[in-house]
């Protein structure tokens, strides 16, 4: 299932052609919109941009994810694939996880590139690469799992492009929170922020949506 | 002191509730007129 989606991606290259540039564009626009003032934070002196870099990175990721998720279901809805999948007797859990996996892979690729870009543009330090890596994986998984579930709810609709963000963004609030704080700790090694606690939150969130998504896809796939 | 906030709060909530309640009743009437009397209530 995931393989199919990824193969479609390789042949059409929308991610690299559209979503990745979109993500970059957002980072750049943040860079333009935010004033270059300097802050004193604890012992460090940082520019405002550098200080909010974690938040901006994850916001850019979230917005890019919305695009990727919208696409994931546009692909299916187009030829009534969902019906075909159901009738082929494929386990709904498999459909869910497969889709999620494909989108996750796409997003992680986007994030790696965006992240490198962010380091360059925002000029941020990196205190704890392991924490950063773990955060990226878990947060992306959470975003994709929850996002796939909610994108399915809006699938096949003209209003999809506005509905998916409305459904998904409030749900992802804890992910945004956890990812941003964990990234802060990973980058700046902030004394007040326990990065690993937040990564645990991200893990819990991801696990929760694995469970909920696999359960919910059963009824959702029954489209008569 | 702070009466302004209290008055504002009670007015907004009061008016809001009233508006919603009235809209429920009026919509109910408008819809019920379009349905034959036998089918107006949920029977099952």
């Amino acid at each position: 299932m995931a393989g199919k989606d990824l193969r479609i991606e390789f042949t059409s290259r929308v991610v690299t052609a559209q979503i990745l540039p979109f993500g970059f564009l957002i980072l750049i626009m943040f860079g333009l919109a935010i004033p270059p003032e300097l802050l004193v934070v604890g012992d460090a002196r940082r520019s405002v941009l550098e200080e909010v870099a974690p938040a901006l990175f994850w916001l850019a990721v979230l917005l890019s994810a919305l695009m990727a998720l919208g696409r994931a279901f546009a692909v299916e809805a187009h030829d009534g694939n969902l019906d075909a999948l159901r009738m082929a007797g494929i386990d709904p859990a498999g459909v869910f996880l497969g889709k999620a996996l494909a989108v996750t892979a796409e997003l992680v690729m986007v994030e790696i590139v965006l992240g490198l870009g962010a380091f360059v543009v925002f000029d941020a330090p990196l205190a704890n690469p392991v924490m950063l890596a773990v955060t990226i994986v878990l947060a992306t998984a959470g975003v994709t799992l929850a996002g796939t579930l909610y994108a399915a709810l809006a699938a096949g609709q003209r209003a999809r492009d506005t509905l998916v963000p409305l459904l998904v963004l409030p749900v992802l609030a804890p992910v945004l929170l956890g990812a941003t704080l964990a990234t802060r700790d990973a980058l700046f090694d902030e004394p007040g922020v326990a990065g690993w606690s937040w990564t645990m939150l991200l893990a819990v969130f991801a696990l929760l949506y694995v469970g909920v998504g696999t359960l919910a896809f059963g009824p959702l796939l029954e489209e008569t | 002191m702070h009466w302004e906030y209290v008055i504002a709060g009670y007015s907004i909530v009061g008016v809001g509730l009233a508006v919603y309640a009235v809209s429920l009743i009026r919509t109910g009437r408008a819809l019920a007129r379009q349905v034959p009397p036998k089918r107006r209530r949920f029977l099952d």
Partner: protein, 277 residues
């Protein structure tokens, strides 16, 4: 059949000028169902709600004393907490009704879920408004990003999304099923967001702004009156909103049946070759 009632106001408007519709048709009951969503039950409920509301105004605005640190602002609390309770109750009902709907497929529970969610959103608006108006004189700000407020706002937006899904143009069962899934997941999500932010708030500066005031007996009682009033209002609204959903469903069925009948009549008239006679 109608109870005439002299008190005015939203709760009893149902019988004020209800154009009692036409002749009862031949069938059984002998009562004609009026052309509105009111009934004996809802009128009594409405009266009760109005009385309770009057009591709330009396206790809340007049009888109960101003509080030590918050002065008169505490009176907003008699609106705020009941709003919170009713909003959460509404969304909880939506979740339960959605679960039952997914298991049984019965229209009744689907309509209940939708109605409860809409009323929940309405009361959420009151909750947020009364909350900010209370917060301004008390803490000095209209808003603060603490775990409780954040998770509550997230909840409201999610149920607005739920209402949007209910309006999607899809075959009814498909739409209802999707909405049901969303109704369940949204409430679970509220719990997750609530507790996740609370468990981990210790590691981040933002703390919950709490209530460190004691409420005295009369204030507590006023709050209780508010709760009762809002619950009665909620019940009244839920019944009416449910009936509206039912009527809408009936109208759609009628339209569908009519379209089918027309189509059938047309094919009969035009015969096999599709040309009009």
């Amino acid at each position: 059949m109608t109870i005439s009632d002299s008190s005015s106001g939203a709760g009893t408007e149902a019988q004020d000028s209800a154009p009692q519709n036409a002749a009862p048709d031949g069938a059984s009951t002998g009562d004609s169902t009026p052309a509105n969503t009111g009934s004996r039950g809802t009128r009594r409920l409405g009266v009760a709600a109005l009385l309770a509301t009057a009591a709330l105004l009396l206790f809340g605005l007049v009888l109960s004393p101003p509080e030590a640190s918050q002065a008169e602002a505490v009176r907003l609390f008699y609106l705020h907490l009941p709003s919170v309770a009713v909003a959460y109750l509404g969304f909880f009902i939506t979740m339960v009704a959605s679960i039952i709907y997914l298991r049984k497929g019965s229209l009744f529970w689907d309509l209940v879920a939708g109605s409860a969610a809409e009323i929940g959103v309405v009361f959420s608006a009151f909750m947020l408004i009364s909350g900010s108006l209370w917060g301004r004189p008390t803490w000095g700000v209209y808003w603060v990003w603490d775990p409780r407020l954040t998770s509550t706002t997230v909840m409201v937006v999610m149920y607005i999304g739920y209402l949007a899904v209910r309006r999607l143009e899809l075959p009814p069962e498909v739409r209802s099923r999707r909405a049901a899934v969303l109704g369940i997941v949204s409430f679970l999500n509220v719990i997750v967001v609530r507790y996740s932010v609370k468990w981990w708030r210790g590691v981040h500066q933002g703390e919950t702004v709490g209530l460190d005031t004691q409420m005295d007996g009369l204030q507590l009682f006023s709050f209780f009156v508010g709760l009762v009033a809002f619950m009665l209002i909620f019940a009244w609204m839920l019944i009416h909103r449910f009936r509206i959903s039912w009527l809408r469903h009936e109208i759609d069925e009628q339209a569908l049946a009519q379209a089918l009948a027309e189509r059938r009549a047309e094919t009969n008239a035009t015969g096999l070759l599709g040309r009009k006679n």
